[in-house]
């Protein structure tokens, strides 16, 4: 067995953290090697080093048995390494083709004499990309604008981008975090195909189901160290979870019976359009009562995003009415809605949820910085903010070197925890949570789920929007299934099964 890639003794320090501590890692040719680990364990750091984004403080890398140094991503690509990042690196106003060839543009023949001034050869590139996408079954439209694509399609663009640059080693950092289970399964088929053609894949994920579905080998990291390795056949979900977290994890939550009270959120005939003026939410009506969790299931792109944005004042309502505790908030601003005791965990953490360059501390009060006790008049009282921040960081187990660290330098999962901590810690009457556990490790998911149930038991109404059917099934008291902008049916959680929900999500009403 030849090793496509071997890293030994990799150590990487960041201010206040030892992100990688003498990590050994190898990847065989044609292998899919899954990398597991808690949030902040150092997975992204390791693969970023392999891709040349970071330079290791210690350690060596060898590719195909040859010791080498990956000086930059450019260098990595030249050595046949491609990477799909945890947070996408696409340029939204450019087309798919332009994004893919960015930095590796081919030019039309005969214009070489102008050197850098030569004409972009989009057509050949587009043909090449079409061929690639057919060969690997990655459906994309080369001429679409990236900003118009749903996340699943953006994911495919990222993969094609790596393949276009002739990567033999493919690094996928949490590629399935933003995909629906269906899309994830499609991706696994693609990954299998790639592996059969001799490509080697490093696959980072938090979902144990996926590890068993696709990996040939599993390695687990904890607190910067490589703590173990296993074959899928020899491992169980429980053993892997315990290896990751260092304790036993309850994978199934148990919650008490709901005691619904008065309706808190009432939506009548709501219609919402997206930026391109397509009707995305089409005459939807529902109610969420105090003390209950209403789960909204559905394949992503069926209007859930727009629904959440309309409810929180981020998107204009085209038609219909929204009221919270009998106050009409149809055209209220985000501030007015927050003031009406509403918490919002946004779907896109880096776009809406966080200011990446700001310290963790400031991000933890992003929605309440102007209120007492954090501000007196216009003056901010940072000592109060620091107290709250210390408290939240401790309770929600945010792994950060300190509260003054820029939130952008935290690991993806810890960024998510900052948002959830901020929103769930406030005393609120309504929680609107979109994908609240996206990118979190099993231990953190367990904790966040407990907090959501606690919020419900304290009498808050919870609207849970999630692409994870398992999350919806285990948390919700009632389940609404969205399909093409409509709510097809609302089920009682006790009578709902995976099958029924799955069929509704595919638009099948007779069952």
């Amino acid at each position: 067995m030849t090793l496509a890639l071997q890293a030994s003794g990799i150590t990487k320090r960041f201010p206040g953290v030892l992100a990688n501590d003498q990590v050994d890692f190898d990847l065989a040719k044609g292998e899919i090697h899954a990398l597991l680990g808690e949030n902040g364990a150092g997975k992204s750091t390791l693969v970023n080093i392999l891709y040349g984004l970071y330079q290791p403080d210690e350690g060596q890398v060898a590719i195909n048995g040859q010791p080498t140094r990956v000086a930059s991503p450019h260098d990595a690509i030249a050595q046949g390494i491609g990477m799909v990042h945890q947070h996408f690196m696409l340029v939204p106003p450019l087309t798919v083709v332009e994004n893919i060839i960015l930095g590796y543009e081919s030019v039309t023949r005969g214009t070489k004499m102008f050197g850098q001034m030569s004409v972009l050869d989009r057509r050949t590139a587009a043909q090449h990309i079409r061929a690639l996408s057919q060969q690997y079954g990655l459906e994309i439209d080369p001429d679409a604008y990236v900003r118009d694509l749903p996340v699943g399609a953006q994911q495919r663009v990222e993969i094609v981008k790596a393949l276009y640059r002739q990567a033999d080693i493919l690094i996928l950092d949490e590629p399935t975090a933003v995909l629906t289970p269906q899309e994830a399964d499609d991706l696994f088929v693609i990954m299998r195909g790639l592996a059969q053609q001799g490509k080697s894949i490093i696959f980072i994920t938090h979902k144990l189901r996926e590890v068993f579905a696709v990996a040939d080998r599993i390695s687990v990291m904890r607190a910067g160290r490589m703590v173990g390795s296993a074959k899928p056949a020899d491992a169980t979900s429980e053993s892997l979870a315990a290896m990751m977290v260092g304790r036993d994890v309850i994978l199934q939550i148990d919650k008490a019976e709901a005691h619904p009270g008065q309706p808190v959120l009432r939506v009548e005939n709501l219609s919402v359009m997206d930026d391109r003026h397509h009707v995305m939410v089409n005459g939807v009506s529902f109610e969420v009562c105090a003390g209950e969790i209403l789960g909204v299931a559905g394949v992503q792109g069926n209007g859930q995003t727009e629904l959440a944005e309309a409810l929180t004042g981020l998107r204009r309502v085209a038609d219909g009415k929204i009221s919270i505790l009998d106050h009409d908030v149809t055209h209220a601003t985000p501030r007015q809605i927050t003031e009406a005791s509403v918490a919002h965990v946004p779907e896109d953490r880096q776009k809406h949820g966080l200011v990446l360059t700001f310290p963790v501390r400031d991000n933890l009060v992003l929605c309440s910085y102007y209120r007492t006790p954090y501000a007196h008049g216009v003056e901010i009282d940072y000592s109060r903010i620091e107290q709250t921040a210390a408290d939240l960081i401790h309770t929600f187990d945010v792994r950060t070197p300190g509260m003054a660290t820029a939130v952008g330098s935290l690991s993806g999962g810890n960024q998510q925890k900052v948002i959830v901590a901020r929103e769930l810690a406030r005393p609120v009457k309504l929680v609107i949570a979109s994908q609240p556990t996206r990118g979190l490790d099993v231990g953190s998911i367990e904790f966040i789920h407990q907090r959501i149930v606690q919020a419900r038991d304290r009498g808050a109404a919870v609207l849970l929007i999630s692409a994870e059917l398992d999350e919806i099934l285990s948390l919700s008291d009632r389940i609404a299934v969205m399909y093409k902008g409509r709510i097809l049916d609302t089920l009682d959680a006790k009578s709902a099964t995976r099958q029924i929900c799955g069929m509704l999500m595919a638009g099948v009403v007779q069952y």
């Binding site: 970023n48 970071y54 927050t338 700001f358 901010i380």
Partner: protein, 468 residues
């Protein structure tokens, strides 16, 4: 954490801060000076010229008669204008129009300064400063509003407004505001009550009790703020310390007296009274600045206060929190309930107000005629974009860099005289400094400074597609 690791981490953090905040500008400055020396050497053919030029520069900027004063005089508008640029940058706006707002501030001040001579200085001077600030603020708020509402990019609109303001000032100076008593094309001399006091004139000015009272009250205000900061810090330390209770026969806790409870107020009143009584007498007995041609004026204090105030506004208030959030991530700002339009307009208005004050200061404190002449070309505005970038938009950094630029601007004349090297070499050096700071890649490559690619900061402002 073990002390050992803690120390290592501290050292690491220190070196990172040093690297990110000071190393690059310093390297840029040095490299620019070396390249400037090379240019002088090559163009003059003698290395001695380089020494002549640079020694002339330093002497002119610091040591010749009134050299330091003149450097500070140039520093004042630099500070105000680069603060203006920095406020814009922090809110994600590239205010290229500070030069135009500077002109508008100047013309407003020229009008307000001469409109009456019946007012006492304590009213007329603030009124004139306010007019200049307001003029600049409104002038800048317009592109702010256009940006927020229509998406018209502020770079384009403020550049266009620059030309409008130049022409408008020309029209006003030669038309409605022209001083008919003078043969030169200029606005009337501002009233004595609106002049910014030159340092030499301070003892005389303070003999007016109203002026003395105003100065005393300003000192009192400073004392009040300082006392408050000290008290806050003490309270915070007390909070952090574990509480110890004395049980039994400890000393009975005395209720805090009036003076301890209102310590800041007491400090303010005492300072005001002392300054009011003592200062006029003291300055008459002894005052170091006696040169009547010394142009240094109290605008310097204004610039210092502005720097502290802007730092406070940006980092210690909800207003600054909102401005910075809108600048760093407008989507998150909207999510957090901030009003984007209001913040963009506000940022531009603050920026314009600072630029307007800079123009006012030039008219009231510096220009020989204490008026706005027809040919009032400054170039300060464009330099200050460079200063703000170089100082990384930090108000205190701006103080330092402004002095550097002011000193170079002032020393250039003696450099030319001393060595025959054209004073535009200074512009060349400044341009090189700017180039090297805005393209840190060059510096890193030259000096082999290693960085993690991901750690680099994003762009200061967003491009055309921005959704602000």
């Amino acid at each position: 954490m073990k002390t050992e690791t803690k120390r290592a981490v501290n050292a690491y953090t220190f070196s990172r801060i040093w690297n990110s905040a000071f190393l690059m500008p310093l390297l840029a400055l040095l490299t620019a000076l070396v390249l400037g020396a090379l240019v002088i050497w090559v163009s003059s053919g003698s290395f001695l010229t380089v020494i002549d030029a640079y020694s002339g520069l330093v002497r002119g900027a610091l040591f010749k008669e009134r050299g330091l004063s003149e450097s500070l005089v140039a520093t004042i508008p630099y500070v105000l204008l680069s603060l203006a640029v920095a406020v814009g940058f922090k809110a994600g706006l590239f205010n290229i129009g500070v030069e135009g707002q500077f002109y508008i501030g100047a013309i407003c001040a020229a009008w307000a300064g001469q409109v009456t001579d019946q007012l006492p200085a304590v009213i007329h001077l603030p009124f004139t400063l306010l007019s200049g600030a307001l003029g600049g603020a409104i002038w800048a708020a317009v592109p702010g509003y256009l940006k927020a509402r229509t998406g018209a990019h502020e770079v384009i609109t403020t550049i266009m407004l620059n030309y409008v303001s130049f022409r408008f000032v020309e029209y006003a100076v030669s038309g409605p505001l022209r001083d008919l008593q003078s043969s030169a094309v200029q606005t009337p001399h501002v009233s004595a009550s609106a002049e910014l006091w030159s340092v030499a004139a301070i003892p005389e000015r303070l003999q007016d009790p109203l002026n003395a009272l105003a100065v005393a009250m300003c000192c009192g205000l400073v004392a009040f703020l300082v006392a408050r900061v000290i008290r806050r810090r003490r309270e915070r330390l007390a909070l952090a310390r574990p509480v110890t209770y004395t049980i039994g026969r400890g000393k009975p806790a005395r209720a805090p007296s009036f003076f301890t409870r209102h310590s800041s107020l007491v400090a303010a009143v005492v300072t005001t009274a002392l300054v009011f009584v003592a200062l006029p007498v003291l300055v008459r007995l002894w005052w170091p600045f006696t040169d009547p041609y010394d142009r240094l004026h109290i605008g310097l204090l204004l610039a210092l206060v502005a720097a502290v105030a802007i730092w406070w506004l940006l980092w210690k208030t909800t207003i600054g929190f909102e401005l910075r959030t809108v600048g760093a991530n407008p989507n998150a700002a909207r999510y957090a309930g901030m009003n984007i339009t209001r913040n963009v307009v506000l940022a531009m208005a603050i920026s314009g107000a600072l630029a307007g004050v800079a123009g006012t200061v030039e008219v009231l404190g510096v220009s020989i005629c204490r008026c706005l002449p027809m040919f009032f070309s400054s170039g300060y505005g464009f330099d200050s974009i460079a200063i703000a970038l170089l100082a990384n938009n930090n108000p205190f950094g701006i103080l330092g860099v402004s002095f550097l630029f002011g000193a170079m601007r002032n020393g250039a004349d003696l450099m030319e005289l001393n060595s025959g090297v054209s004073k535009y070499v200074i512009s060349l050096i400044q341009a090189l400094i700017l180039l090297f700071t805005s393209a840190p890649v060059i510096m890193r490559w030259v000096f082999r400074v290693r960085v993690d690619r991901k750690a680099q900061e994003g762009p200061l402002t967003r491009g055309w597609g921005g959704s602000a």
